[in-house]
């Protein structure tokens, strides 16, 4: 699939203005402002409780921000969101293929049928993440890494313009991380906007052109090297 390369004429994929979020009276995010350009690949880093997951949930529309906050999505762009995988029912009696088929939900809905073209996308996605041959396995019998591969296959099928990933490489081995990172880079090359919560500074430096550093508020946001340097200075001061 080919997409337009990111150009400065296109409006930002997501604009965040004065984003503040409260969780049970506690301020989780405080007045974050900035934008994610279309086709940008951004890492979100910060200590535990810095508001990284909250930011992604807000962008995905799962958490309501404070009233004055504004999130603007460029019109016509579709969004996909992958939460930390503790949030789904791993013991559900579902086959891997059916799990990946759920990526078609936005297009087929509850009653639409999956055309052969769509089914071919599902097969291709399974092959891309290296799960061919495991289609008929039950999700509960997969390892953490295999499950994460299946969820990435579902993201591939979703075919979204903006992709939000919450700690996608947690609890998966190095080999799986390499495969999934390959997916992320493929999305980036296709001009999709990817925002990922990560922990590993070296990984961020090597693969993610932009970085947003959070600590309850925005510490630094920009090209990765500069943002990381700024964050270190802020920590030292």
């Amino acid at each position: 699939m080919t997409r337009l390369p990111a150009t400065s004429q296109r409006p930002p994929a997501l604009v965040v203005q004065d984003l503040s979020v409260r969780y049970r009276q506690q301020l989780a995010l405080h007045q974050v402002s900035g934008h994610f350009a279309q086709g940008s690949l951004t890492a979100v880093i910060g200590a535990n409780g810095a508001g990284k997951s909250t930011l992604l949930k807000c962008l995905a529309g799962l958490v309501m921000p404070e009233r004055h906050s504004r999130i603007t999505r460029a019109p016509g762009l579709r969004m996909a969101y992958l939460p930390q995988h503790s949030e789904l029912d791993r013991h559900f009696p579902l086959e891997v293929r059916d799990c990946v088929l759920m990526g078609l939900w936005e297009r087929t809905g509850a009653w639409g049928s999956a055309t052969s073209g769509l089914l071919a996308q599902v097969e291709a996605a399974l092959a891309t993440v290296g799960l061919q041959g495991l289609e008929r396995r039950v999700v509960g019998s997969l390892s953490s890494g295999q499950l994460q591969r299946a969820l990435f296959a579902r993201l591939l099928v979703l075919d979204a313009d903006i992709i939000l990933l919450d700690e996608p490489f947690n609890a998966v081995d190095r080999h799986t991380t390499a495969t999934l990172l390959g997916c992320v880079q493929q999305w980036h090359r296709q001009g999709r906007t990817v925002i990922a919560v990560l922990h590993d500074d070296a990984q961020v430096l090597a693969h993610f052109p932009h970085t947003l550093v959070l600590a309850g508020e925005c510490v630094a946001w920009g090209p990765t090297a500069a943002a990381l340097a700024h964050a270190h200075e802020a920590r030292a001061a």
């Binding site: 049970r24 995905a60 529309g61 799962l62 969004m79 996909a80 969101y81 939460p83 949030e87 789904l88 029912d89 013991h91 559900f92 009696p93 579902l94 086959e95 059916d98 799990c99 759920m102 939900w105 936005e106 809905g109 509850a110 009653w111 039950v138 509960g140 019998s141 979703l158």
Partner: protein
């Protein structure tokens, strides 16, 4: 008398000879087809207690229907359905809009409902009426009762087929569904599903009684999950087990002269015990192989 004739006499002749046995059989089979799959979804959603709570919650409604027009099926079914829907709506709202533990408030709710229902019926009827409503009488199903059970079963099997994809997705990964919206908001699936549960419990109270209706829903569902790794197989297995328990229970209650509802549930309990021992996910298989069960 040869073995075959004896079996024929014990198994087939009660149904051939007596219309009330045939009506009971049809009602139980219809209920097995619709209620048991709903039970599988209830256990998957970790809402086993909600089924229990709803079965108690319909009791005050049934009681008010009884007070208004005696042992009239229409009035009692209507009252039960309204009470059940109110509680299902409340439970949904409580879990959506507050931080209250759902199971705790449900436990409180159903104890109050049970007490209220029994008090109302006992105050305005006889001890026998209380027993009839609590434990049902499959052998007393008349034509209107049969129509109610068959109607509910038809509607709920069709509705479950229509809701299947949405319900599976909403149960497996609710976050995915809320993040990737289609036209219908995700809570529609949960509430639609709870409406089906209420309707089935109301249909079940006539044949099995309010206390027992939830048994035919939950027991086959729990043991079906021990046999198969995929959902369609589990749904089918639950219906088959419920039907088996229904037939066996009716025959046993006929021959041993025991109350039909509790006998049917006892048979479902027997199948559950057998599944615990023999199924691939059960104790014996795990003990032999020393491996993890089929989830």
């Amino acid at each position: 008398m040869s073995g075959a004739t004896w079996v024929w006499g014990a198994v087939a002749s009660p149904f051939l000879e007596f219309a009330f046995m045939r009506r009971a059989l049809v009602a139980t089979l219809a209920l097995s087809l619709s209620a048991a799959p709903l039970g599988v979804f209830l256990t998957l959603r970790r809402m086993s207690l909600l089924g229990d709570a709803l079965s108690h919650a319909i009791l005050p409604g049934v009681a008010i229907g009884f007070m208004v027009s005696g042992l009239s099926l229409t009035a009692m079914a209507l009252g039960g359905a309204i009470a059940g829907l109110v509680v299902a709506g409340l439970a949904g709202a409580v879990s959506r809009f507050t931080v209250l533990q759902e199971d705790a408030s449900l436990a409180a709710l159903y104890l109050v409902a049970l007490a209220l229902g029994v008090t109302l019926i006992a105050r305005h009827g006889t001890q026998l009426d209380v027993l009839h409503i609590l434990f049902g009488s499959a052998l007393g199903v008349d034509n209107s009762g049969l129509l109610l059970v068959a109607g509910v079963a038809t509607v709920s099997v069709l509705a479950l087929a229509l809701m299947y994809r949405g319900l599976v997705l909403e149960t497996f990964d609710p976050v995915f569904m809320s993040a990737h919206r289609r036209s219908l908001p995700p809570w529609v699936w949960q509430q639609g599903f709870l409406v089906l549960v209420v309707f089935n419990l109301v249909a079940g109270f006539q044949t099995l009684g309010t206390l027992m209706a939830v048994g035919l829903m939950m027991l086959p569902a729990v043991s079906a999950r021990l046999w198969h790794a995929t959902l369609p197989a589990q749904l089918l297995n639950a219906s088959v087990q419920a039907a088996l328990a229904g037939v066996a229970g009716l025959l046993l209650s006929y021959h041993l002269d025991t109350p039909s509802g509790p006998t049917i549930i006892a048979c479902a309990g027997g199948l559950y015990a057998a599944s615990l021992l023999l199924a691939p996910g059960g104790g014996l298989a795990r003990w032999r192989s020393g491996t993890r069960p089929v989830p």
